[in-house]
Amino acid sequence: MTNKKVKFKIYRKDPKISNDYRYDEFDVPMEEGMVVLDGVNYIVEHYDSTISVRWNCKAARCGSCAAEINGYPKLMCKTRVEQMGDVITVNPMKAFPLVKDLVTDVSINFEIDKKIPEFTPKNMGKKPWTIYDIDVNRAQEFRKCIECFLCQDTCHVVRDHNTKYIGPRHVIKAAALDMHPMDVLDRSESLTKDMGLGYCNVTKCCEEVCPEHIKITDNAIIPEKERAADNMYDPIMMLIKKLKNKSNRDKK
């Protein structure tokens, strides 16, 4: 253990009491391998137990401790103190309503989730279904999502502009369903028409902050934009699809 101390600045606000906010400062002894969540917990234990902070697993698996650390969306449990400099400012995620201090209400995401048409399999008949690895390994990447909503927090469309865009986390959910071999729906058109996919300008901040390193833009958003182009903008592809559908109908 060294004698070094790190200054923590913690955002404080209780919207139930007042709309004012302040930063409380604390000196925290630095320990080797310490993460920002350790620092915050130290403060709660030793200085001020009224600070609200949400965390569960401390292993980057539950996504509860998402925050803005020195102006960058990160998980508190995965951010090493020694990499953040001598002053560490911790803010709550700004894209969501504040509950208190570092805790935000992310429940809007569960409402958005309901807008995405659910898994609709081809035939409910013969079970168990045989599903091959080559058909599902693309979507497996999206299953790594821990629902920390850091990508939603950093997305400038969700954060700064009042549009109907559902945000990157939800596009990967839709893409995972669309790429499922048993699913019959194509969600790209409704993503574009009703869920604002066209507002994403592929600037990739979501990819940059995702603690699971999911290639959100390259592997989910752009493929959905390309599928939407097939269905809505590309006249040749639209014609081919129409003819295919017609011949399928005729066969039946």
């Binding site: 400038h156 700064d160 699913d183 507002y199 994403c200 600037t203 752009i222 390309e226």
Partner: protein
């Protein structure tokens, strides 16, 4: 339709904001294009300038291929339009005060047709190899010179850039949901995976190929100006 309606419908707000970065970009574009037209260097000692291959009139399509490319979209939406400039939440220069329609309206809707510019670009690629081939012969004598090496490297970078395209990725397999249900599904998935690997480097390839083609153009302009830049490695 009055002027305001026209503006709202076709001209994204990004073009109407005061933005020195955008003006600088437009000026660079105008200066560059005028240079091509006022000082053409179509051919010099057997080398064809890649910007004029097969014809300078193809340039608008190639330009649109790059302008609608997902990699450059990220770059100009960040660094020219500042929507946002970076992910650091303090210095993004995007805000609630700015109007934003993304790729949903006006000029930016053209992004959805990236694939058509891809098709044109694919058709052009063989010309670069043809230019390399013709540069190897002067009066039926085989010569291998530095300029030919540059033309070949340029052709390879452009090929890799075009082949790593996101639209191509969708075209060759990304749009499929069930490979095991298709004939040749395993082969298609294999090809898709290989292209996906290349696609990871699309942004680097976009920039390398752009810088290199400009470098080759400047090199050939240097030769035209009489600079002793070429080296002959072999003459048969």
């Amino acid at each position: 339709m009055n002027v305001n309606d026209f503006k709202n419908k076709y001209i994204p707000s990004e073009f109407l904001e005061f933005n020195p970065r955008l003006y600088a970009f437009i000026i660079m574009l105008i200066v560059g294009l005028s240079a091509f037209l006022i000082f053409p260097v179509k051919e010099i000692s057997g080398y064809i300038d890649p910007f004029y291959s097969p014809t300078i009139f193809i340039l608008p399509f190639v330009g649109l291929y790059r302008l609608t490319c997902y990699a450059y979209r990220k770059d100009y939406n960040r660094h020219i339009f500042k929507h946002p400039i970076g992910c650091d939440l303090k210095n993004r220069l995007d805000s609630m005060k700015r109007t934003y329609t993304g790729e949903t309206s006006g000029l930016f809707k053209i992004e959805n047709l990236h694939r058509y510019f891809l098709y044109v670009s694919i058709l052009i690629v063989p010309f670069f190899y043809y230019d390399f081939y013709t540069s190897l012969f002067i009066n039926n004598i085989f010569v291998f010179r530095l300029g030919s090496v540059l033309l070949l490297v340029n052709a390879i970078f452009i090929t890799l850039y075009v082949l790593s395209c996101h639209s191509l990725r969708s075209l060759i397999g990304g749009r499929k949901d069930c490979y095991s249900c298709m004939s040749y599904g395993a082969g298609i998935k294999n090809l898709y995976d290989k292209q996906s690997w290349l696609n990871k480097h699309h942004e680097q390839l976009a920039w390398i190929s752009l810088v290199f083609i400009i470098f080759v153009d400047l090199y050939l302009r240097g030769l035209t100006a009489g600079m002793p830049l070429d080296i002959t490695f072999l003459k048969l």
